[in-house]
């Protein structure tokens, strides 16, 4: 992975000093709340329900063992012994003290980490997919490009105070797993007809209270021009995006107001002045950064391992886990492994300090000391030998990291919601837990098959509920907590936004509602269909009827 040189290190260290002084001035009363706000936000510090919340950047989801050990130590020392992985692959600490945050950032800087631009109205952490570099369907390893964008966007002076936050995702595979269409800018690598690598640029996607999938602004961009093109897009946005109303300030609103054609015209006009300028990426710079992302020193291994095959044959629990948690790899004899942070009945995405040390240890021993975080809020060991999978499983299982539910209904994506977040309409974690308990039978869960269930505690959509096959949204009705259900959302190349099925439900109804949706699916599905396919084929009406029929029965009895 990328290693800092003195220049990178100096920037992070100087940032810690600057922030330490800002906190000092705030505590001394020299900065008002309102003035301190944008400053602390650009360092990842929110003031939340119980305490500040610190969001630590995990650029494009890549971590080293050393970094995860450090996060484990920090969570132990400055927090309550756990952290939370967010859908943007960052780590959040829910209980740090404001006075401690400069020290936390200083500790992070010792392992080349920071919280720069993890919140605030600026360019945020760049995301990609968790299998970058090992995916069999890879076009390019997107991490080098993501790192170049990270550096360029760090303290970009022109874009330090945008109308609203700005999120860029890069996909380097045929199957999009980075949700490029739900980002302010999405860069999708592909091969053109001449088999030349090109980028399709999406703009103006985003969920939140106005969910919109992005539009294609440029069909064919060459990699050299990524930075100057992004500059053109963001400049038009910075100058003309709305600043009067934060709910209408994302770039998607501007793109919609102008229309994609007019927006493209303005961007192209701007770009004519920037194209081929100094921020054009050189071959040399791409090569310099790419050298940190070359293939691991793999052994030459056969495509099969007898020990592994027999363990699967003889141990059903192990077999069930491999089915869900072990993923294809471009190198023969290796696999990527997802460790589940979704044990049934616990907050999705939470990881204890102890578990962080275990995972870091696993990566050290079995996966070249590196790991990834996924936007589904799990952690991944990218390079495990077939022959090591059994040992990995045993250790993971002993530490509550091997629930065989990856990609299944209980692999719930969930925001912190009302338990932690001051913007919430409703709690989300208890709903996730109750649904997980409802579907605790593993055979049943596997029979239901692939399903994405997403929960957000309010319309800000941190849990991506619009693109969940089943989406649950916390809503406020006269001061009490209710939940609205959508179905038919999907991430990926054929992304779609879900449709609301009808009136909202009380918390205690939710496991039953999901159960009813599943009943319709099980009744209607063909052999090959996943839940989402059935919804797309038959539409929402049968689901709606079944869910609300029961409601009616209940009230009529």
């Amino acid at each position: 992975m990328y290693k800092y040189d003195e220049i990178d290190q100096a920037i992070v260290d100087q940032r810690v000093d600057q922030y330490r002084d800002q906190v000092r001035r705030f505590l001394a009363g020299e900065l008002s709340d309102e003035e301190f706000r944008p400053l602390r936000l650009q360092n990842g510090l929110y003031i939340q329900r119980h305490a500040p919340m610190l969001r630590i950047a995990v650029p494009y989801g890549t971590l080293s063992s050393r970094q995860l050990h450090k996060l484990g130590d920090i969570a132990q020392r400055y927090d309550r012994g756990y952290g939370h992985f967010s859908t943007r692959t960052n780590m959040q600490l829910n209980w740090p003290k404001l006075e401690d945050t400069p020290d936390i950032l200083a500790e992070l800087a010792t392992v080349q980490m920071h919280a720069i631009q993890t919140s605030g109205n600026c360019i945020r952490n760049i995301t990609t997919d968790q299998f970058a570099g090992v995916a069999p369907d890879e076009i390019i390893d997107p991490r080098a490009v993501a790192e170049i964008i990270r550096q360029w966007s760090t303290f970009h002076p022109e874009f330090a105070l945008l109308p609203r936050k700005f999120k860029i995702a890069v996909s380097g595979t045929r199957q999009d797993r980075a949700i490029v269409q739900a980002h302010d800018i999405g860069l999708e690598f592909y091969y053109d007809e001449q088999q030349k690598m090109a980028i399709k640029v999406w703009v103006g996607g985003g969920l939140g209270r106005t969910p919109i999938l992005g539009s294609v602004i440029c069909e064919h961009l060459e990699w050299q021009h990524i930075l100057t093109y992004c500059e053109a897009v963001i400049r038009v946005y910075n100058l003309h995006g709305r600043r009067d109303n934060s709910f209408k300030a994302r770039i998607k609103i501007l793109v919609k107001a102008l229309g994609i054609d007019e927006f493209r015209r303005q961007v192209d006009e701007e770009w004519q002045h920037l194209k081929d300028g100094p921020n054009t990426i050189t071959e040399a710079e791409l090569a310099r950064v790419s050298q940190y992302f070359t293939a691991m020193p793999y052994e030459n291994l056969p495509a099969h391992d007898a020990g592994y095959d027999s363990a699967i044959a003889s141990n059903p629990a192990f077999a069930a886990w491999t089915k869900r948690s072990v993923h294809a790899h471009k190198q023969p004899g290796y696999r990527a492994v997802t460790l589940s942070l979704k044990p049934h009945g616990k907050a999705p995405g939470d990881i204890t300090s102890e578990q962080m040390h275990v995972v870091a240890g696993l990566a050290e021993k079995y996966s070249f000391g590196e790991l990834r975080v996924s936007h589904e809020q799990n952690v991944i060991l990218t390079d495990v030998k077939l022959s090591d999978l059994y040992s990995v499983w045993e250790i993971a299982r002993a530490n509550g990291l091997a629930t065989p539910n990856i990609g299944l209904l209980t692999d719930i994506i969930c925001c912190p919601g009302g338990d932690f977040c001051s913007l919430a309409n409703a709690k989300s974690i208890p709903i996730a837990e109750a649904i997980q308990m409802q579907f605790d039978n593993l055979d049943y869960l596997h029979d239901i098959g692939e399903l994405e269930l997403n929960i957000s505690g309010c319309m800000n959509a941190c849990g991506h509920h619009h693109i969940g096959h089943i989406g649950i949204l916390g809503v406020d009705k006269d001061g009490s907590e209710w939940y609205q259900v959508t179905i038919g959302g999907k991430q990926g190349n054929d992304a779609s936004l879900g449709t609301v099925i009808g009136r909202a439900f009380a918390a205690e109804e939710m496991p039953g509602v999901v159960q009813r949706l599943i009943e319709v699916y099980l009744r209607e599905r063909t052999d090959e269909e996943r839940f989402i396919d059935t919804v797309r084929r038959i539409g929402i009406t049968p689901f709606k009827e079944h869910v609300y029929a029961r409601q009616e029965d209940a009230t009529h009895v």
Partner: protein, 199 residues
């Protein structure tokens, strides 16, 4: 003590900034909340305000763009003497300033008013003035200008900062040194780090 920083030093302000007389400030609300920013291109002063703007007889003055546009004939001699600069607010359209003078470098000073700290349009305006329009003279930021914008303002081509009256310009000056090597090319340092140094 002056609160003006110019070319990395605290200096006395030799310019008088001419402001429009107070007009009726319409408080706009949306969903019960006060609308805080002006939209790009929004017209915010009336012909009466422009006509009533008092121009000092002598000395160096920075006049509002709207006043310059409406009272060019009267003000042109001051420009010829090198005693007139123009200021615009972040919601005004930069191109109307560019079109309003034959040569932008006739202006010894351009000032940009930022009403709120969080309004980052000031950065793009500075960048465009320096890069697109080749403006070379003093470029000043004033309004809600605090130390934590300075580094960015400098990188976007500003060389003059009038720090908000209740804050220390001295402390603000120190913040210009917060970072040694920026990553990306911008106005002050056009080359990105990988073109400047062997990494």
């Amino acid at each position: 003590m002056s609160n003006l920083i110019h070319n990395n030093a605290i200096v006395n302000d030799e310019w008088t900034t001419v402001t429009l007389p107070a007009g009726e400030e319409v408080v706009r609300k949306q969903a019960g909340k006060v609308v805080m920013f002006k939209l790009t291109g929004e017209q915010t002063c009336t012909p009466e305000q422009i006509a009533a703007t008092v121009i000092p007889e002598n000395g160096k003055i920075i006049v509002p763009l709207s006043v310059w546009l409406a009272r060019k004939a009267e003000l042109a001699p001051r420009l010829a003497k090198g005693e007139l600069g123009i200021w615009l607010a972040t919601h005004e359209v930069l191109e109307s300033l560019i079109d309003a003078v034959d040569d932008i470098n006739q202006l010894p000073i351009i000032a940009v008013f930022v009403e709120r700290f969080a309004d980052g349009r000031i950065f793009s305006i500075g960048t465009l003035l320096r890069t697109r329009y080749g403006y070379k003279n003093e470029l000043r930021a004033f309004g809600d200008v605090l130390r934590d914008q300075l580094f960015f303002l400098k990188r976007c081509g500003y060389d003059s900062y009038l720090i908000r009256a209740d804050r220390s310009a001295e402390e603000a000056l120190a913040s210009l040194q917060d970072f040694s090597q920026p990553y990306q090319g911008a106005v002050d340092e056009t080359q990105p780090v990988w073109r400047r140094v062997q990494r």
